[in-house]
Amino acid sequence: MVVLADPMPELASGPQVPSVGTLAEQRAARRTLLAQIARLERQLSDVVVSGFPKTPVDHRVPGAAGPALLGLGELEALRDAMAERLCVARSQLAVAADREADARLRLEAMLADPGAHRFHQVTRDDLGMPGCGAYQVRPRLGIVGMFLGWWQVKLSSGCPLARRTPAGRATRVPPAWADAVASAEGPPRRASARPGRWPRHRHHRARPAAAPASTRRPRRPGPRSP
């Protein structure tokens, strides 16, 4: 009986089960194949769980019309298909891991020398991190910083800010985001009679509050025409 090694990438076209004659040899070969299929199923499951949710991997291996006892050839074909699928899935994970590692290196370079990476951006999705947002190299103080070479790495929230809709109504801002929205929009503007325009500076005189009706002086009757 040939002991088959652990499934490796070459297994897809690798060692075949030698032709077996006696019933005992057949049974041993089937047992070996079933054990390999069980191990491959475990490895496929681990790959799927590892990639979730960022990296969906192609892990489907079509089955025969079952559940039924498979023949030796069918078990071999199933084992080979699973091994090939496992290789593809692992390569997908590896590509995603390489992409994330590259993004981390770029972020480190941006943090070390922002001026050499002007307007570069690395998103949280590139880094494999949950949530939205991006690390961006932006000039400090706007155009002043751009000309003076003051650059910094900023982490944007990535979330859309509350803005006034064309109808003039502001969208409701969740309380947790109210501070972020306020700091992003700058100093509060005064309400203007003309929406969209800067408010005029008006000097309001404090007018005395109207006295209650009971304390008002009665108005003098005016001259009446005879």
Binding site: A38, R60, G63, P67, A68, L69, L78
Partner: protein, 217 residues
């Protein structure tokens, strides 16, 4: 409720047993029948429904008992991502519907058993099942069910049978004429133990289903 003291081991065809050592069929007899699900069972299903999320559903395949059933399905030529094991299908239905939908005492007993233990249980009418239960492959000419609605069984398909013939495909639903109904008084519960599943899970699944299928007094 009268329950057999211990689950008993039912028969598995020698060819199947030789191919899949560790595959077992366990049986438990109890009193019960179909009807409106007890409030306690509905409450338990409601509590269980709140514990499942998408991430946990994905990670289910790597847990020992669900993984054992996935391996069994794979070894029998079934793609477990297409024809899911009972526990994975139950969790997927929960995600799809937003909860575990109740569908009567029998269906809820089966659902409760599989969700709590991962072991699928089939509830049959004891008076309609002839002889002993057995797990074997389909023979030539056998059909699943009786009458016009019966379907042909491919040769070699693994099925749960009694002395009269196939009752249900492995991990499938029982034929309607053997399933416990509202007229049922005594039930036979059948649980398939995949290789590698601890026996305590199987026993717990059978007792859980027996409790849930009991007619409340």
């Amino acid at each position: 409720m009268t329950v057999d003291p211990e689950p008993v081991l039912a028969a598995v065809d020698p060819v199947v047993a030789a191919e899949l050592p560790g595959l077992e069929l366990w049986e438990l007899r109890c009193e019960g029948g179909d009807g409106r699900t007890a409030r306690e069972v509905r409450g338990r299903l409601r509590d269980l429904a709140g514990r499942w999320s998408g991430a946990r559903a994905i990670a289910l395949r790597s847990q020992p008992v669900p993984h054992a059933y996935r391996v069994l399905l794979r070894q029998l030529g079934v793609d477990p991502d297409e024809t899911r094991s009972p526990i994975e299908q139950a969790v997927l239905d929960r995600l799809w519907h937003g909860g575990f939908k109740t569908a009567g005492r029998v269906a809820d007993a089966e659902l409760l058993a599989v969700v709590e233990t991962g072991v699928p249980v089939l509830v049959l009418d004891a008076d309609l099942v002839a002889g002993e239960l057995e797990l074997r492959t389909a023979r030539p000419g056998e059909r699943l069910g009786e009458g016009e609605l019966a379907s042909d069984l491919p040769l070699g398909r693994v099925v749960l049978c009694d002395d009269r013939g196939p009752l249900a495909p492995l991990f499938g639903a029982a034929v309607p004429d053997r399933r416990a109904t509202a007229e049922t008084v005594r039930c036979r519960l059948a649980a398939t133990r995949a290789p590698g599943v601890p026996i305590v899970h199987v026993e717990e699944a059978l007792w859980t289903a027996a409790d849930a299928v009991a007619i409340p007094r």
